[in-house]
Subunit: 204 residues, 2 copies
């Protein structure tokens, strides 16, 4: 090793030792072991895909997973096809209407939201589910299709061993207060705005 | 339907018609069909899980997927176990060292990074891959383990039908310029900071 390389290695080692100390200190500081509530919000790409990534993570340990989707398109997307066809250990429920801006029928949408919420509520009371995903739930609150107090009450009382992930833009302070972890996914730029179409296997 | 309900429905329908017009206009404006480059960055939870959600999405259409992980922990995490055991259609490569702050060996880390990059470079030149995930690649650039020009050159020249997802904090302006879509995942809060341990099946 040349003198210069040696210096680089020493300086590198110092930096990495410090980083390791910081990482180790954070790990030591956390001591409570329980399921968590996660809110993935913001206007950028990556909220639902992150939730489905956690589905894959839970399946890696053969945990039971529940997914309720409160908004769906006309066709099943890739991850929905995958979960439905390849993952019998996932209980998968989709609200039985299209996008709310396509149906334009408020009372029909409310009925559908309430029916899907009933499915979610059962999962949130069932400790056999290690992970429950409530995809696009935030819109049901912002459109006032579901009562926020009812939703928050069920979320607050999920079993200790269970983790719950809520996705969607907005969501309000009630959801943010409830969640242990909140990530805001900010759009810095999107292919869409340069005229590139949504991509099969990536965007849907 | 009461008069009040009727009013609510009419106002709802107007709002939703407007929303539908906006959504439809955005869809009509995008006309280029090709694979995209995506950068998932920021300090919040959801970067790698979002990438693995896209893996699931691509698998829903039975597309071929490649994953290269440039940083790994001592144990395989849930999504890694899942991909390795349940997804033979995914080519999965992990850098053969632990966290760089654990090894504290700069020249060993550089050699490992270069070896993993060679795997990634092959995928980026192979159009049979519909989706390539380069998990935690940003750190290899910020630690200067890999040459940025070499990396950017391969990224810029990926096959038209292929999409590429790069994850990790930071990444620099070169990666951000390259990407069609950039999401910054901001930590608003994290369970960690309230003393809650990382959760199996959710965080790893």
């Amino acid at each position: 090793m040349s003198e210069e390389q040696d210096k680089k290695q020493q300086s590198h080692q110092k930096k990495m030792e410090k980083l390791k100390d910081n990482v180790d200190a954070s790990i030591a500081a956390a001591s409570t072991e329980r399921g968590v509530g996660i809110l993935l919000t913001g206007n950028g790409k990556g909220k639902s895909s992150s939730a489905f990534g956690m589905v894959m993570r839970a399946l890696g340990y053969e945990y039971k997973v529940g997914v309720v989707q409160f908004i769906k398109g006309e066709q099943l997307s890739g991850e929905e096809l995958y979960v439905r066809d390849k993952c019998p250990e996932v209980t998968f429920h989709q609200m039985g209407t299209g996008f709310t801006w396509d149906t334009q029928d408020r009372s029909g949408d409310i009925a559908a939201a309430k029916e899907s919420w009933a499915v979610a509520e059962k999962m949130l009371a069932d400790k056999s589910y290690h992970l429950v995903i409530l995809d696009e739930l935030t819109y049901m609150l912002s459109f006032k299709y579901l009562d926020e107090d009812v939703v928050l009450n069920a979320l607050r009382n999920h079993p200790t061993n269970q983790s719950v992930v809520v996705t969607g833009r907005g969501g309000g302070s009630g959801l943010a207060d409830w969640a242990d972890t909140v990530s805001e996914i900010k759009e810095i730029k999107h292919a869409y705005n340069s005229g590139v179409m949504a991509r099969k296997g990536v965007d849907f």
